[in-house]
Amino acid sequence: MSALAELGPASGAAEPAGPKPKRLTAGRLGLYAFLIIAALFFLLPFYVMVITSLKPMSEIRYGNLFGWPAAPTIAAWLKAWASACTGVTCNGIEVGFFNSMKILIPSVILSIAIGAVTGYALSFWRPRGANVLFAVLLLGAFMPYQVFLYPLVRVFSMIYLYSTLICIVIVHTIFGLPVMTLLFRNFYAGIPIDLFKAARVDGGAFWSIFLQLIIPMSTPILIVAVILQITGIWNDFLFGLVFAGRENMPMTVQLNNIVNTTTGEREYNVNMAATILTALVPLVVYFISGRWFVRGIAAGAVKG
């Protein structure tokens, strides 16, 4: 301590000692400026959406896109939620919200549960043909799913499930499986195999090892899987449109119906409000768990 103190002021600025001083260089300033501008650039559309949704139509017709609303009103939000016309009916996007929830919750749980078990079996139990199954699953993850639409419609109508809630849940579960399995398999590949061996010597069976040992260790990857599946399934449009049936149209499809109505005046404020409402769920998920999301993606990408 004392030796360092003597070195301090007496030896002047010429002698480097202690922590290196942080300097704000021109390069750093430029970097920050660029980052701030980039952030503003990407935030601008959202800003326009929010203020437009708060304006009455009379003000929107005025044409001042970036102007602050003179008389902010949430009338457009209320209309978008409860009474906007989605085709023939005029019950707002609320119906779609609850339909989406009904699709989302079972689909997320099922796809993650099956993906986790499959990943666990593939990386620890290594059954005969595991590599072939994994290769097929990988292939599945890269196939454009539009290819499967028509055959799937035929299959579901043959077993009288087409256009039901069960139908859309099954579709989401199947199409979520390759990525979920990949995610869990890669995560479990990072767990030392000795742990699994020890559990087997200790008398654990397939399910008891999975439930008591592996699942408690899987928290990070479970969070990642939940985020991936919530955003993926919530944002889905095509499957919902094709498989859900009229009764269960998800929010994205309802939103499209509101925005693309061709009769009457285009209510930009209602459209904006409905769009923000639809995007709210993934947005909230990202804000709560962005940190986990990035970590999980990186983990999944590096290991393999």
Binding site: P192, D194, A198, V201, D202, G203
Partner: protein, 360 residues
């Protein structure tokens, strides 16, 4: 009745044959060490005994039962891993009781057995902790305790001390030895550390390329190695090897090193031989300095390098252009270039066929 018996075992990973036609008989209560360089198949053999690796051919018997197709949990074994393999989300208490809970043992008995193991391994104050809050030595004790609570016949250790620092390793080594003395269970212990093997084992199985080279007591493995590989693998610093030609003359057998000839009449031949290229192995600690005793081979040389190692010192010199290591007392004073006279007893040396490496 043998406690563990491996018969005509074959294991392969894909097209690579790791073990072929291996036999091993372990007596009841015996401490066997499987020793060898990495990749020699010793861990594979242990995993097969545990039932964690599928075998290609052969049988595994434990306590008189054929367990070849039996699940690991039903084989009556406990296993301790190099990486400890403690369940990270469970406390020490839960780690110790996991196996018993899986087996559906009554709660009161679980408590009793965990308490007993914890007392034996001095883990009583740590029962509420998670593995992450333990030191390496404590973790390994928990891992041993996990095998202990299950009241098994056979303990399998897979390099349990390799992840610990030197001091802890020595401490735990003694603890394992005490444990074996107190429990009297059969123990099979895999290591690449010859000190662990020599100190712990009743018998050592030295392995190489999936084949047991020698299965014998530590004394035998050290003093009468069966082949040149075992001789070179056991002992630190390694045995000195002098390559020459065995000549069975009328005056008795000699080893011709070119410029020097070593009289082998004091050497105890293991079998009949003819004139062949041969290698004489002499341990550095069996070479003494000073005037030769009768029957010893004596030589003179210069000190080339001195390696002080604390308790003793390694002096490098030469016999017939071959470098030899001589182990001398730690407080000797030698300098490079000093002239020294040294000698060794041929009765304590080992002679190997240069071609096959087998002991002559």
């Amino acid at each position: 009745m043998a406690s563990v018996s491996v018969r005509r075992l074959a294991v392969s990973f894909g097209h690579v044959k790791v073990i072929e036609n291996l036999d091993l008989e372990v007596e009841e209560g015996e401490f066997i060490v499987l020793l060898g360089p990495s990749g020699c198949g010793k861990s594979t053999l242990l995993n097969t005994i545990a039932g964690l690796i599928d075998i290609e051919a052969g049988q595994v018997w434990i306590s008189g039962k054929n367990v070849t197709w039996t699940e690991p949990k039903d084989r009556g074994i406990g296993m301790v891993f190099q990486s400890y393999a403690l369940y990270p989300r469970m406390t020490v208490q839960q780690n110790l009781s996991f196996g018993l809970r899986m087996a559906g043992v009554p709660r009161a008995e679980i408590e009793a057995r965990v308490a007993k193991a914890a007392k034996l391994l001095q883990l009583e104050d740590l029962l509420r902790r998670r593995p992450a809050e333990l030191s390496g030595g404590q973790r390994q004790r928990v891992a041993i305790g996990r095998a202990l609570v299950r009241n098994v016949d056979v303990f399998l250790f897979d390099e349990p001390l390799s992840n610990l620092d030197a001091k802890l390793r020595n401490e735990l080594r003694v603890e394992i030895k005490k444990l074996h003395r107190d429990l009297g269970n059969t123990m099979i212990y895999v290591t690449h550390d010859q000190i662990e093997a020599l100190t712990l084992a009743d018998r050592i199985a030295v392995m190489r390329n999936g084949v047991i080279q020698q299965l014998a007591t530590p004394q035998d493995v050290y003093h009468r190695p069966k082949n040149q590989f075992v001789a070179g693998f056991i002992g630190s610093p390694t045995m000195n090897f002098l390559t020459g030609r065995l000549i069975l003359g009328a005056a008795g057998p000699t080893l011709d090193l070119g410029s020097v000839s070593i009289d082998l009449s004091a050497y105890g031949f293991a079998r009949q031989s003819s004139d062949v290229p041969a290698v004489l192995g002499v341990r550095p600690e069996h070479i003494d300095l000073g005037a030769a005793s009768p029957g010893h081979f004596a030589a003179n040389g210069k000190v080339e390098i001195v390696e002080p190692m604390g308790a003793d010192m390694i002096v490098w010199s030469r016999i017939a252009d071959t470098p030899v290591r001589i182990r001398v007392d730690g407080d000797s004073a030698f300098r490079n270039g000093d002239d020294i006279a040294f000698h060794f007893d041929l009765a304590r040396a080992s002679l190997f066929d240069a071609q096959s490496g087998e002991r002559l």
